[in-house]
Symmetry: C2
C-alpha cells in the first residue's frame, strides 16, 4: 500500500486540483500529446507496455506544479511541457515499481502493469520509463534538469527504502516519519516547483521560494493522505481504510495514537503493527476519535501549509505565487471534508 | 538466470581480460576509489546497501572497455574514471534487478541484495543506483554522456523485457535472438567504447569504429556465454550447466539444436522449453555434440569477432586499436578452451 499512499489514493484530491486549475487545460493537453509522442522512443516490442503506463487517467499533480510554478500568463512552452513530462514519467515509473512490491492488482480501476505483464517485466518496464525520463531531461542546453531530476529520483527511492525496511517496526520517531515523507513525496513536489519556476524564467529568489513551497506542500499532502487512510470516506477514496495499519506502516495518525494510549494498551497496538496480532482498524479509528488524534494530525497539515504560504509571501507580485497559494486552500478544504465524517 | 547470462557467469573470462590489461591497474584502482567516494551521495540509511552492491569483486569489463578505448598512453583522467563509474553503476543496478527476477540467492559467492535486504528494498536500491549513475553522468560540461547512457539503459531494459516475455516460448527466430543480445548485452559494451574513445579525445571516425567494435565484441561475448552454458566446465564456470534450457530461454545453441533435430524429436525439446516436460540438459548436450551444434555457434562468435576487428582495421595507428584487438584474441582463446572439453 506504499503506492496508494503516495498521493494516489485520494482520487478526489486531484479532481479538485484540476478544477482549480482549469486554466491549465491547454498545458495538460500539450503534455498528453507530448507524452504520447514519447512512445516512439521505446523499442516496438515494449511500446504497448509503456503506453499502458503513460495513460491519461493519472492526476498529473506534479505537472500541474510545474506549469503553475512557471506560469507567465498562460503560454504553453516546450520547456515546461518537457519538464512536466519528465517528472510525471519518474512518478509513473515509481508507481510501476511500487505496485510490484505491494503486489497490487488494481490501480485506477484496471490491472497494474505487474498484474498485466508479470513482476519481472514490470521491474524492467519501470527501469525503461526511468531511463526515458532522464533521456528527456538531457534535451536542455545544460545538464541542470538531468542533475536535479536524477538527484530527486535517488531521494524518492531512499525514502521508500527506509519506509520499507521499517515496515512492521515500532521503533520510529516522528522525526523518522517526517524524514521518510520528505524524501518519498515532498522531494518530487519540490523539484517540480524548482524546475517549473526556473524554466518559467523567474529570478533565483523566487525559484528558491517556490522550491520551499513545493516541499512543504508535499509534506502536507502526504500527512493528509495518511490521515485519510483512517478518516476518509471509503467510497470517495476508493480503497479500504486502515491499510497502513494492515501493512505495518507507522504513519502520523498511528504514531499519535501510540503516544496517547496508556502503556498497557500500547502493547496490543505494537503487536498489530509488528504482525503478531491481527490488525483492528475499526478499533484503532474509534480510539483515534476518542483520544483526539484527528486535530493533532490536522494541525500538522496546517503547519506545513502555513510554511508553504510563508515561503511565497514575499513574492505575491509574481504571477505564479497567488496560483500556488490556491493549492493550499484546496488542501485545506480536503482536510475539512475529512473532519465532516468521522467514522465512529 | 538472466543475470548469470549477462557476462557474469564465466568468471575466468574476466580474469583473462584483467590479465591482458594489467596495464589498467592504476585506472582500476582510481575507479575503486572513485566508486567508494560515491557512497557519500546516498542517504545514510541506504549507504550500507549501496556499498554492498558497489563491491570490488566485480570484473569491471565495461570500465576496462572505457579505459582501453580512451587509451592515450596510460594517463588516468577524471573524465574516463567518471564514465567508467557510470557504466559500471548502470551494470550493477541492472544486476540487482536481474537477481530479483531470477530469485537468485548467490552472486560472486555471497548473498544477492535481494536475499540480503528483500526484493522490495532491492527494486528500490537498483533504482537508487541507476539514479546516481545518471547523476554522475551530468557532471560533464554537456548533456552528451547522460543522453548516451540513459538511451543505453532503456535499450538494455528493452532487451531484457523482450527476453523475459519470450521465456518458455519456442516461437523465436535467430534474428529475434540476435536482437535480444544486441540490446541486453552489446549496447552497454558499445556505449563504453563510444564514450571512452570520445573522452579520450579521438576523432569521430575512430569513435564510430570503436562503437562498432564494442557492439560486435558484446554480441560475441554473449554468444560465447550462451555456448559456455552447455559446453563450459562446471567447476571453472561455477554454475550448473544447461540453466538456459531449465529457465526456458532459447539461446543460439538450443536454436541450432532445434533446427537439426528430426521433426519427431523437436516436439520433446519444445515441451522441455515450454515447461511441459522436465528439461534434460545432459541429453541435449549429447545431441548437440552429435549434431555438430558446437562449430555452428563457435562460428557465430568468430563472425562477430571478425566484424569487431574489421571495424578497427583502418585505425591501427591509434593507440587504443591494438589494445582492443587483443580483447578479441582473449575471447578466441576462451572459446578454444571450451572446445577442449566437450562434456559427452
Amino acid at each position: 500500500m506504499t503506492a496508494s499512499n503516495r498521493n494516489e489514493s485520494v482520487s478526489t484530491g486531484a479532481q479538485d486540483f484540476a478544477a482549480v486549475f482549469s486554466m491549465l487545460k491547454p498545458h495538460m493537453a500539450a503534455l498528453d500529446v507530448f507524452m504520447r509522442a514519447q512512445l516512439d522512443a521505446f523499442e516496438p516490442e515494449i511500446r504497448g507496455m509503456a503506453d499502458y503506463c503513460i495513460d491519461t487517467s493519472g492526476k498529473r499533480i506534479r505537472p500541474a506544479l510545474v506549469f503553475t510554478s512557471g506560469w507567465t500568463g498562460g503560454r504553453v512552452t516546450t520547456d515546461l511541457v518537457r519538464i512536466a513530462s519528465v517528472v510525471e514519467l519518474v512518478h509513473l515509473a515509481s508507481l510501476v515499481h511500487d505496485d510490484i512490491m505491494d503486489e497490487a492488482d488494481v490501480r485506477r480501476n484496471r490491472p497494474t502493469a505487474t498484474r498485466e505483464y508479470g513482476a519481472t517485466a514490470a521491474v524492467l518496464l519501470g527501469d525503461a520509463l526511468f531511463s526515458h525520463a532522464l533521456n528527456l531531461a538531457t534535451r536542455f542546453p545544460t545538464t541542470e534538469v538531468c542533475q536535479a531530476v536524477s538527484d530527486s529520483m535517488r531521494k524518492v527511492c531512499a525514502g521508500e527504502i527506509i519506509q520499507t525496511l521499517r515496515r512492521g517496526s515500532t521503533n520510529i520517531s516522528r522525526a523518522d516519519y517526517e524524514r521518510i515523507i520528505d524524501l518519498k513525496t515532498a522531494e518530487l513536489f519540490r523539484v517540480s516547483c524548482y524546475l517549473g519556476s526556473r524554466y518559467g524564467g523567474y529570478p533565483m529568489a523566487f525559484v528558491e521560494a517556490a522550491s520551499s513551497f513545493g516541499r512543504h506542500l508535499g509534506i502536507a499532502y502526504q500527512v493528509y493522505d495518511d490521515l485519510a487512510d483512517f478518516f476518509g470516506d471509503e467510497k470517495r477514496i476508493g480503497k479500504t481504510l486502515g491499510t497502513d495499519l494492515v501493512s505495518g506502516k507507522l504513519t502520523l495518525p498511528l504514531l499519535t495514537l501510540m503516544d496517547r494510549l496508556p502503556a498497557s494498551a500500547q502493547v496490543e497496538l505494537v503487536e498489530e503493527i509488528t504482525g503478531k496480532r491481527p490488525p483492528q482498524p475499526a478499533l484503532r479509528l474509534a480510539q483515534m476519535n476518542e483520544l483526539g488524534v484527528f486535530p493533532v494530525v490536522t494541525e500538522a497539515v496546517q503547519q506545513e501549509l502555513r510554511l508553504a504560504e510563508a515561503a511565497l509571501a514575499p513574492h505575491l507580485a509574481l504571477p505564479p505565487a497567488p496560483l500556488l497559494m490556491r493549492l493550499c486552500e484546496v488542501l485545506r478544504q480536503q482536510v475539512g471534508a475529512l473532519r465532516e465524517r468521522p467514522q465512529t
